[in-house]
């Protein structure tokens, strides 16, 4: 249940400045009245422990703000800028009288508007490092031509559709600009609900007050994604969550799952889960059940959409949900704060909520027909771009399980690593790898020396600057490809000294000595360039203890705030094959 706008306005006054490590600066520009939006952003950020500062441009001042180098917008120096535009403003008189001009004139008009808008967007991106999120235009439901609207060449609706398509194509490859599908937002809630003529006549309010919180809810996806806070794993109960009924009592044939109600509600929920799995969200099971009964359904029930291979981790036992949840986090090797928990039982939910507040426990209603909608309305799974690694993640975690089993059979770690046939390929930062490099700097917490967070455009700037060396490591072994799982950014201070600005490893490949392959590559490159010493820093955080001893283990020696490596070379472990592209 979303709150009314007044709740956020009141709540924003009570917010205290907390010293959170997650911070964001949000600028808001618009062609209509959006008062209340900044308070809503601040409160919704605070709910997620994000310290948010906002800048709201004057009413309809977006052009001036963007064109003037000295404007308060640029002084504010935002991380994210939202430009909210509306169809009435862009069309002017044509909103009411589209057929007062010919179709070719309408085409020219839209072409001109598109150019104006693109120029404005490009002007903004040249002047700042802020990401810009531009809303597309909602297609008006009313046309003066009524049912004949669809018989007009380049009519009112076609004009808006064309403008939206042009904007989308223009900025498809631009990682500083994102087009938010505002038209879908209007469709989701309905134009008659979210546009209120009275509010429009009184205050030029074009998203009615009660829908501002819903809009911010959608836009929060950009905040979550740009801070790398997207949730990565959905942990699911089984009985009355993935199917109706209790398998232990109702039996294999008694559970409700299939293409008739209520079984189809569970099936649909599974389809939505599978679609999220395919974009890189992991799925896990946390169920109090007899393992044989539950696994029989997962493995053999013809109406299960989700199969065993879709689950990165299965905890089906009689332990409590909190114990299982902690074990899932441990098995998958990432924090509880990246997990979402779905369970139909309010008691279990309350238990997890109170003991593990960092897990996002979703309040499910009694009615399973609502599950899919709730899941589809969540903005927590967003990332700014979907990389190849994301779409393969589920499969990679499965291979990880096989590695784990193999590891438990190996007599010692050294033999295990030898038999793993590890191959580390060092790849340059280019258009294919930059999105993943940025993603890893934003997401990696554990094996990360400095935890510097970089957006794609910042990585691009490093790559273009010959004072920096940026690269990444792809790790393969006998079980499959782990994808790009290591990143290094080296700053060339002087001809004699380089500094490790960033050195990180995804938790997926920790404990394989891959880091030594990467450091050996960096040291080799440094020596080839006549560099005498490499400098590095370990900046401790709450989460990066696993990397604490890495520098001394590699032979770095501490002097003051830095660790230094000045030996002539570095030997990587023999069981690793290093491929330097």
């Amino acid at each position: 249940m979303e709150q009314k706008l007044s709740y956020y306005i009141t709540k924003a006054k009570e917010l205290k400045i907390n010293d959170n490590d997650k911070k964001i600066r949000i600028a808001l520009l618009s062609s209509f009245t959006i008062n209340g939006i900044e308070e809503t952003f601040r409160v919704k950020c605070a709910e997620r422990n994000i310290e948010c500062q906002t800048y709201l441009a004057g009413y309809n001042q977006y052009f001036q703000n963007i064109l003037d180098d000295q404007s308060d917008l640029y002084k504010f120096s935002p991380d994210l800028t939202f430009l909210l535009l509306d169809t009435r403003s862009i069309l002017g008189n044509l909103f009411h009288f589209p057929y007062s001009i010919s179709s070719s004139e309408r085409t020219t008009f839209i072409e001109t508007k598109f150019k104006e808008l693109s120029n404005l967007i490009n002007t903004f991106t040249k002047k700042t490092n802020s990401k810009l999120i531009v809303t597309n235009f909602s297609i008006p439901s009313f046309s003066p031509y009524g049912i004949s609207e669809t018989k007009q060449e380049y009519g009112l609706k076609s004009m808006i559709i064309d403008l939206n398509n042009k904007l989308e194509s223009e900025f498809m490859q631009n990682d500083s600009v994102y087009i938010y599908d505002f038209n879908s937002f209007v469709a989701k809630f309905g134009e008659n609900n979210m546009f209120d003529f009275k509010q429009y006549f009184f205050g030029d309010i074009k998203v009615c007050l009660d829908y501002i919180p819903h809009l911010v809810n959608d836009l929060m996806a950009y905040v979550i994604a740009s801070l790398g806070l997207g949730k990565r794993c959905i942990v699911l109960d089984l009985d009355n969550t993935l199917w109706g009924g209790i398998v232990g009592e109702d039996g294999f044939d008694g559970i409700k799952l299939g293409n008739t109600p209520p079984g189809n509600a569970y099936q649909e929920f599974q389809r939505v889960l599978l679609s999220l799995y395919q974009r890189g969200v992991l799925l896990a099971i946390n169920s109090k059940n007899n393992p044989e009964d539950a696994l029989k359904v997962i493995n053999e029930h013809p109406d299960m959409i989700l199969k065993k291979e879709h689950f990165a981790c299965l905890k089906i036992n009689w332990d409590d949900k909190v114990t299982n949840m902690k074990e899932i986090a441990e098995d998958l090797n990432f924090g509880l704060d990246y997990m979402v928990f779905f369970d139909d039982d309010p008691v279990n939910r309350e238990f997890v909520k109170t003991r593990l507040p960092q897990v996002l426990t979703v309040d499910l209603p009694k009615d399973p027909s609502q599950y899919s909608k709730i899941l589809q309305n969540m903005s927590e799974f967003n990332t700014l771009s979907i990389t190849e690694e994301d779409t393969k993640r589920g499969k990679m975690y499965l291979e990880q399980q096989q590695r784990k089993q193999f590891e438990s059979f190996a007599t010692n770690l050294e033999d295990f690593l030898k038999e793993l046939n590890l191959k580390v390929s060092i790849l340059p930062a280019d258009q294919f790898t930059i999105p993943r490099i940025s993603q890893l700097t934003l997401k990696t917490n554990q094996f990360n020396l400095t935890t510097h967070r970089y957006q794609e455009e910042e990585i691009r700037e490093f790559v273009q600057n010959n004072q920096f060396l940026v690269g990444c490591a792809q790790v393969e072994d006998k079980f499959g490809d782990n994808g790009i799982t290591g990143v290094f950014i080296v700053k060339k201070d002087t001809p004699k000294q380089w500094t490790l600005d960033t050195f990180l490893l995804s938790c997926r490949v920790m404990g394989r000595e891959v880091e030594k392959a990467i450091i050996s590559h960096i040291i080799k490159k440094a020596k080839e360039n006549g560099v005498e010493r490499i400098r590095a820093q370990y900046i401790p955080t709450q989460k990066n203890k696993p990397v604490e001893s890495f520098l001394p283990d590699c032979g770095f020696v501490k002097e003051g705030d830095y660790w230094y490596y000045s030996k002539p070379d570095f030997k990587a472990p023999g069981f690793l094959t290093i491929d330097e592209k």
Binding site: S6, T10, K198, F202, G203, I205, L209
Partner: protein, 79 residues
């Protein structure tokens, strides 16, 4: 009912309920700006389950006017 109305106005304007009376208006309460007027209108309509006409809104100058129009809309204020 008046108390309910006063507390709603106090909440929207971010002031203490004790300073609200029938003469309260944008002239006497600094936070009662045009935007808070829209928020108040929205809150009144959902709280008292009624819709004011645009003319009624335009001619509302203070709390007494709000009470007057609420009565016209059949909302019983108990004082």
């Amino acid at each position: 009912m008046s108390k309910k109305l006063y507390s709603l106005i106090a909440k929207v304007m971010g002031v203490d309920i004790s300073i609200i009376d029938d003469n309260s208006s944008p002239e006497t309460i600094p936070s009662w700006d045009s935007f808070n007027s829209y928020v108040l209108l929205d809150e009144l309509e959902s709280e008292f389950k009624t819709q004011f006409t645009i003319d009624e809104v335009v001619s509302t100058k203070n709390v007494a006017d709000i009470k007057y129009y609420l009565k016209i809309h059949g909302v019983a204020l108990d004082d």
